[in-house]
């Protein structure tokens, strides 16, 4: 095999680094620069006035952002946990069915393939207080219907249900791949040793799946923190601030209110917080692996 000098190895990375810099770093740097400015338009020309950290200083007092952070955290925790648990159950079930399970896979994956706008339409109809399927069922059994999206007490939970329905297939796919790649001999050894199904799952399958579950949770948590389309289509952040999420706040501040400076500051803050959480989570995962080894 030919040997390359260390310099050659580094140089070979250069094209990839350049592409990365152009596609990923440059837009973030641009965002960062904009976040220190107030942007306005005079005589058809863009004016950028340096305002230092003013945009960042305004963030803590922003009522939408505060509500957005809390609601986003609720969505991340509840939606992601439910998706991983249901996804894992479905993956184990499908895997246990062997070849018969292949029939169910496309059905389970279906919600993932439906465009967001269609999902919005489907669930808006289902939640409709006048003729939605949920209220029709409630009324059929003698209960009073409820305005799921219009009531502050149920609006966020209703959005979370849609997110779970939409994204559980993603968790299912990742976890199914992990379940199907588990070594069979360990399970068989457990069975020979007299382990019950629950004991096999609890002490053999689950520990082996921890890395996959962790990564699935992390992926979905990051994706859930960016939730936008369900909120935009179903509630627009209301009623009040009950379904306000961070992405929707950024959309309103940056685009609707045409405030790129402040919108950029919000965006940079969120990128920073999510990056920190990912790094902490990855390190926690590695520490766990080291402790186990």
């Amino acid at each position: 095999m030919p040997h390359f000098s260390p310099l050659g190895k580094y140089l070979s990375l250069l094209p990839a680094l350049l592409v990365f810099a152009l596609l990923a770093l440059l837009p973030v740097i641009n965002l960062l620069i904009t976040s220190f400015h107030e942007v306005s338009w005079q005589a058809g020309t863009k004016q950028m006035e340096w305002v230092g950290l003013d945009n960042y200083a305004d963030i803590p007092a922003d009522p939408l952002f505060k509500a957005g952070v809390i609601n986003t955290a609720i969505v991340v925790i509840f939606a992601t946990s439910a998706q991983v648990i249901i996804g894992l159950a479905l993956a184990l079930g499908c895997s246990a069915l062997g070849k018969k399970g292949r029939f169910y896979r496309p059905l389970i994956i279906l919600p993932l393939l439906i465009p967001g706008i269609v999902i919005g339409a489907i669930w808006r109809l289902m939640y409709n207080s006048e003729f939605g399927v949920f209220n029709l069922i409630l009324e059929a059994v003698g209960l009073t219907g409820h305005d799921w999206l219009g009531s502050s007490s149920t609006a966020l939970a209703s959005v979370i249900v849609v997110d779970i329905w939409h994204w559980t297939p993603f968790a299912f796919l990742l976890l199914l791949a992990a379940v199907e790649s588990l070594p069979r001999d360990v399970s068989e050894a457990a069975k020979i040793d007299g382990a019950t199904t629950w004991q096999e799952f609890r002490y053999v399958t689950l520990p082996l799946l921890y890395p996959a579950i962790f990564m699935t949770f992390l992926f979905r948590a990051v994706m859930a923190s960016k939730i936008f389309d369900e909120v935009f289509l179903l509630t627009s952040g209301g009623p009040g601030t009950s379904t306000e999420v961070v992405s929707f706040t950024i959309f309103q501040r940056y685009f609707l209110q045409d405030n790129p400076g402040y919108g950029s500051a919000l965006s940079v803050s969120i990128i920073f917080v999510v990056s920190v959480i990912i790094v902490i989570a990855l390190n926690a995962g590695r520490s766990r692996e080291l402790a186990q080894s």
Binding site: W41, Q42, A43, G44, T45, K46, P63, L64, S129, D147, L149, G150, S151, S152, A155, T235, S236, G237, G238, P239, G240, T241, S242, Q252, R253, F255, L256, Q257, D258, N259
Partner: protein, 450 residues
């Protein structure tokens, strides 16, 4: 593009219509088939169908091509911003909302119409909507006196009270002129699930509840700002009158409306009304076209229109949220001329009468004072004649989007019951003052309500 179905027209009217079309054909001969295609960016509104029909008529008569790029409200605004800020706008005509036009004016994005054609002027019968088509770029003030003509009104969006005329006639009532009467009538007709007394928008959007609440605050003798028409942006949204107005708004929403008042959109209101489940609502005048369409409405001929009520001693004040057609600076001259030719044709008295017949809401007195206003299907026009001189705009400064974001949130939270009326008014006042102060306006606010 589809033309709305028309009602049966008497033979004399047919003759009149034919002569109008003939006159229009003659008057349009000067620019027949001689202009570049015009690309129009427009929002999806209740009056779109009428505008699309009139654009079709223009194409038929002149051979000039008009393309409509139809978008939701926020999408249209975003496309307009992107277009005027680019090297060359892909749109030749912007249909700009009466709330957001100041940012187009102050940003210097629109071509003064007399720069395109020095002879061009608004037809004398076109309503001037508080001088909003004119802007003085030196003093940065809206108004005809010193301003240059930047836009042509294309839709007279003002709020009207839509009510069930048939139920009123059964009870022997007149259209309500006071909030007290409105509330009393709404309570009398309220029969949940079958008929709601009143429903009004309170859902948070780009500009929604802010616009619908405006007639209330004004009608109780309050205001968002001390005198925005005169450029006085001292914040007065937290006045006692405003508290009374918002308490009334919230009370009506929570006691005699559907159970989801804080989530109601304009589409919901129209849906409730045309399905016969709503006794009163407040909608832009242009929504009239959907009330009498037998394909969409179960209440054909049953909806009446009136100017909005007010408290005793104060005038009815419908909210002005009209639409203006403006031509971007960053397009080739031939495109500017083509867009102006369409606007010129559109504003002519004959076209405006046609526009009304096609389901649009005209912007010219020529239509409202013509015989067609006497037809039963055009009964909204009588209310428009009363309401138009009373209508007021909310503000004329480019920070409108930021101001609306504050009021949309505060009013929506009050209706949703997240915060009290007093908390909502005080917090909105503080936030409005902060935005205006940061933008460099001489402002201030009333002391907090207790």
């Amino acid at each position: 593009m589809k033309t709305p179905e028309k009602n049966t027209i008497p033979s004399m009217a047919m003759i009149g219509k034919a002569s109008i079309v003939a006159a229009m054909l003659a008057s349009s001969a000067t620019f027949a088939a001689s202009h570049a295609p015009v690309n129009v960016v427009i929002n999806q509104s209740p009056w779109l169908e009428g505008f699309a029909a009139i654009a079709d008529l223009y194409e038929d008569e002149t051979g000039n091509e008009i393309t409509l790029d139809v978008n939701p409200y926020a999408g249209s605004l975003e496309k307009q911003r992107n277009a005027v800020r680019s090297e060359e706008s892909e749109y030749d005509l912007l249909i700009i909302n009466g709330i957001f036009y100041p940012e187009m004016y102050h940003g210097g994005f629109l071509e003064p119409l007399k720069s395109i054609d020095p002879e061009f002027d608004l037809d004398s019968r076109v309503y001037e909507y508080g001088g909003t088509p004119w802007f003085d770029s030196e003093s940065r003030a809206i108004g005809k006196e010193d301003g240059q003509l930047l836009t042509v009104p294309v839709n007279p969006n003002i709020t009207l009270l839509f009510y069930r005329k048939d139920l009123y006639e059964e009870k022997g009532w007149e259209a309500p002129t006071s909030f007290e009467q409105l509330e009393s009538n709404a309570r009398a007709l309220h029969n949940p699930k079958k008929m709601y007394g009143i429903a009004q928008r309170a859902g948070r959007a780009t500009v929604s509840v802010t616009w619908d609440f405006f007639p209330y605050i004004q009608g109780f003798g309050g205001s968002y700002f001390r005198d925005s028409d005169a450029g006085d942006y001292f914040v007065t949204i937290n006045s006692e009158a405003a508290r009374e107005a918002l308490e009334t708004y919230v009370r009506l929403a929570s006691e005699v409306g559907p159970e989801n008042p804080a989530n109601l959109t304009q589409g919901d209101l129209i849906q409730l009304l045309v399905t016969g489940k709503l006794a009163h609502t407040v909608l832009p005048a242009a929504a009239w076209a959907q009330m009498d369409d037998p394909n969409k409405s179960a209440v054909v001929g049953k909806v009446g229109y009136a100017t909005l009520p007010s408290a005793e001693g104060f005038p009815s004040t419908p909210a002005l949220g009209h639409w203006l057609g403006g031509i971007p600076k960053n397009i080739p001259d031939e495109k500017k001329r083509a867009a102006l030719a369409f606007l010129d044709w559109f504003q002519q008295p004959e076209t405006q009468i046609q526009y009304a017949e096609m389901g649009g809401a005209p912007i010219s007195a020529a239509a409202y004072e013509s015989d067609i206003a006497d037809r039963p299907e055009n009964r909204y026009m009588k209310a428009m004649v009363t309401a138009s001189p009373l209508a007021k705009g909310m503000w004329t400064i480019p920070e409108g989007a930021e101001l609306a974001a504050i009021t949309e949130l505060g009013l929506n939270r009050a209706v949703a019951g997240e915060i009290t009326v007093t908390e909502a008014l005080n917090s909105m006042a503080a936030d409005l003052e902060s935005v205006l102060s940061e933008a460099g306006y001489a402002t201030g606010r009333l002391p907090d309500l207790e």
